[in-house]
Symmetry: C2
Subunit: 162 residues, 2 copies
Amino acid sequence: MSVTDEYLENNRRYAAGFTGPLPLPPSKHVAVVACMDARLDVHGLLGLAPGEAHVIRNAGGAVTDDVIRSLAISQRLLGTREVVLVHHTDCGMLTFTDDAFKQSIQDETGIRPPWAAEAFSDLAVDVRQSIARITASPFVPHTDAVRGFVFDVATGLLDEVV
Amino acid sequence: MSVTDEYLENNRRYAAGFTGPLPLPPSKHVAVVACMDARLDVHGLLGLAPGEAHVIRNAGGAVTDDVIRSLAISQRLLGTREVVLVHHTDCGMLTFTDDAFKQSIQDETGIRPPWAAEAFSDLAVDVRQSIARITASPFVPHTDAVRGFVFDVATGLLDEVV
């Protein structure tokens, strides 16, 4: 049995206790942007209840054009106002460089990815970079409540980057 | 108090019962790609335990270049092999068109977004589109276990798109 099949069995148990549906727009008017890391249960670590907040995640929690797209839809069409960024200690993005990663793909496939890999070397600097990309975007209308945090994978605590 | 501050209080309670750290590579070798929708608690609906799977999310669960970037890092650097796509009923992406959304931004800001908004009109077609984008990518090495599902926000059940 694949892991996907295990997860489908879990889903049947989840649905047995499910109460829905909730409204489409996030009730707390928040969008979270977090790293995809397997140790971040975003609902758990922020105490998000179903229906409260959009959750956007990618490798690094980097504010790419796709995150700007998602935030534009979140704020302009679905009424969110606050943004919470969650990066974390022991991140995989600290372990390589864009150049080396893209070169390894080029060596193997013959094609160099046209995108930045978004590796970084300093967590706080990267959180500030992410905040700055949001506040500089012409497509994200509400940028007065954008805050960034580092989640400690050893303690479970969020530490704000100022 | 802002909602962000409420979530920080929740985090202190979460950390009080936290046991970590877990290893960086996902222990179940799975990456999930899901919509950012506020009603999808991905850990809950799939029964993911901390440390098991990468979770990538954006508006629509669309397989954009940024998702390909995240999957490339997930598979090439952190050992994942299966991909689980989760779209859902009552999705906001069914309620507008790319052209109208981008025109409204252009009318307001003077700038037309250079990205596709990734709106769609048929859930199953969009899930198949997402699967096809992954299997066609030269940057994602493992594409023999890519499966797509629609989460029903009324029942909590996943339905596979074949």
